[in-house]
């Protein structure tokens, strides 16, 4: 995001110098005027709060307290020994490693199947997209009922089959898996639609050419044409899914409140809890910085390393 601001801030005047003789001052002014709303909003809504968070992270500020002290790196030192923070980093990682590959894999499979199918494309697209447009908090209530240990339909079926009835949201062994499945369910539809768009963009004649070259089986067609051509879409889906997974909050907050014993505590909930439950704004700001650093690092790795390998042209 900082990149964006820099390029929009520096590139324009440079271009302006080159164009001054031909286009004149008016054009440049118009350009700046047009950008002004975006720049103002960006500074007010993103840059300024970020600076405040950055500053708060080095203080012991508590919500409502009359003042605060600068405490250097104490907040970060506290994180190292904080059991809850450790658990929340670990759980966010496990959750993401579960949700990202599964929701991308399943979405890709479904997209290829729907694309290859002759009928009902719109129907299946709508069915799988429904979870995306439904309100997560409301759906969480439905999940709570479905996964209820004693009155839930899932366990009723398992009981009838004579199988064990795990406490899906109450047992620390199961809670992340359950939340992970809900996460996959939420993300598949969104990814599916993106993949479908990517699939329609692949030129038909590539498949025809492949066939002439002797590519017969569906798998070979997928592997030699579809997969490489889907590269840019895949990168985009990967970035979107990763940020969505790292940002998981509402299902955790409504279903498990991070419990039992931090077994489902995640980063965003820790930030929320520290700030608005314990009122420790300084510490919460420090955790927010860690969260931002992780997101930024992921973005950099993805754009720098993978971006180069998926764009042909």
């Amino acid at each position: 995001m900082a990149d964006l601001a820099l390029t929009s801030g520096t590139a324009m005047p440079r271009e302006g110098v080159a164009a001054r003789q031909t286009r004149g001052f008016g054009t440049i002014l118009v350009a700046w005027m047009l950008m002004l709303p975006a720049i103002v909003t960006y500074v007010l809504m993103i840059l300024l709060p970020l600076v405040v968070v950055l500053a708060l992270a080095f203080t012991d500020y508590e919500f409502g307290a009359p003042g605060f002290r600068f405490i250097g790196l104490d907040n970060f030192a506290e994180m190292l020994g904080d059991r809850t923070f450790g658990a929340s980093i670990r759980n966010t990682l496990v959750y993401s490693l579960f949700v990202v590959p599964l929701s991308i894999g399943i979405a890709l499979l479904l997209a290829v199947l729907i694309e290859a199918g002759a009928r009902g494309r719109a129907f299946f697209r709508a069915v799988f997209f429904l979870p995306v447009v439904s309100l997560t908090v409301a759906m969480a209530t439905a999940w709570q009922y479905l996964l209820h240990p004693s009155i839930g339909p899932l366990n009723a079926v398992l009981r009838d089959l004579g199988l064990g009835t795990p406490n899906w949201l109450g047992a620390s062994e199961w809670v992340l898996v359950s939340l992970g499945f809900i996460g996959v369910w939420e993300n598949v539809g969104f990814n599916l639609v993106l993949f479908l768009a990517g699939l329609t963009a692949i030129p038909r004649d590539l498949y025809a050419a492949a066939e002439i070259d002797g590519v017969r089986s569906g798998w070979s067609k997928f592997w030699l044409v579809t997969w490489p051509m889907l590269g840019p879409t895949l990168l985009f889906v990967l970035i979107i899914t990763m940020t969505r997974a790292i940002r998981v909050f509402d299902t955790v907050q409504t279903l498990t409140q991070g419990g039992p014993n931090n077994a489902s505590e995640v980063l965003l909930r820790t930030i929320y809890q520290e700030a608005f439950h314990y009122f420790r704004f300084g510490y919460s700001a420090a955790v927010t910085l860690v969260f931002l650093a992780i997101v930024l690092a992921l973005m950099l790795v993805q754009t720098r390393l993978i971006d180069r390998r998926v764009h042909y042209g």
């Binding site: 307290a65 406490n167 620390s172 279903l255 498990t256 409140q257 419990g259 809890q273």
Partner: protein
Amino acid sequence: MSIEMNITRRHTLALLGGASAGLFMPAIARANVTEISAHYSMPAIFQPAQEAVLAAFSAKHPEVKVTYVNPTPTYEDGAQLLLRNATTGNMPDVSFQGLNRLRMFAERGIAVDLTPMLAQLGDPVEFGYSKPILGLGFHGGMQAGLAFATSNPISYYNVDLFKKAGLNPDAFPTTWDGVIENAQKIRALGNGVDGMFFRWPGDDWMFSALLYGHGGRMLNEAETEVAFNGAEGLAALTLLDRFVKEGGMPNYAGTADLQAFAAGQLGMMFRTTAQVRSIANSVGTNFELRTTTLPVIDPVKGRLPTGGAGAMITTKDAARQEAAFKFIKFATSAEGTALMAQNTGYVPCNQIAIDDPQYLGEFYAQNPLFQAATKQVHLMQPWYAFPGQNSVRVTQVMVDNLARIIEQKATPEVVLADMATEVSKLIPRK
């Protein structure tokens, strides 16, 4: 402000000379009105009560005009609102806050000490403010607030399941041993039916019921060291352990216990009386619901924690403080507390209303479910609020450790030791 403006207007009117008496009179009446604003949380529970109290107050005290600011959905949001306004200004003059948060407001200099105002009343006991009732609002060395609506933990049970399991619904066990025995019998009905659930997650409130029940306390008198790590604390944790081991207590997350209970799949449930109304609504006619007092642990030393809301004054202006005190005094009077109790089902916070049947006798006769909590009033002591900046965090550490017992991952002895170490780190060193 408003007084001044009205006086100016009156002068203007007088100068005009032609003003009729009819125009004049309301201006005089309004001249003495002090306007104050009040704030409360959880409108779903408190709105009818607050409105009833305000209507009765306005009829009696036309000289004070109270306006409610938008109520906040939870106590937590309410605390946030006040802390936010403490930094930005625009604070309501009166605020109803969770009783266990009064300490934070006292420590941060937001709540005004009510001691001098109470002193003007003479003997507070004559107003129904008994010592234990005042104690609920006494925090950080000052009278930070007055209890407005209180709750304590009670027992809810499913009469139909009792009968099915061959138990007598008229004789609810008075000891936890009896509860565990009943739980086993109800569980034996099978088909996913559970015997009991003790609402330990969320916060330390229900755990403190077991601790206080044994006569224990959270920290020592000087608040320098943990005091729950003795025999009482161990007994409390052992009881929790037995609920799971012997009573087969399931590990319900979130509100799963309420859902199971309403579906008729849970025999006994132990949680706050504050939910009587909503639980009765969700049960409907599925089965016969009854409530009763919590089983007694130590008949002499045993106590129960108090939840609920207290009224505090935040304005530093003398005239507004006087008006604000009139309002909260009325809200916590026998008349005010009776209106509150009838509209919420919470426990009345005025001894006169508790003792004199003219206030609530008829209400309890018609609503027996609400009676269990009132029978325990003499056992109530404040829900302990930990000192210092980690006040709320401590409670989470306790809940996290309790989860280890519920999941049977650690023994009560180990959990007690860990809990003591972790809490010690979070309380201020003196």
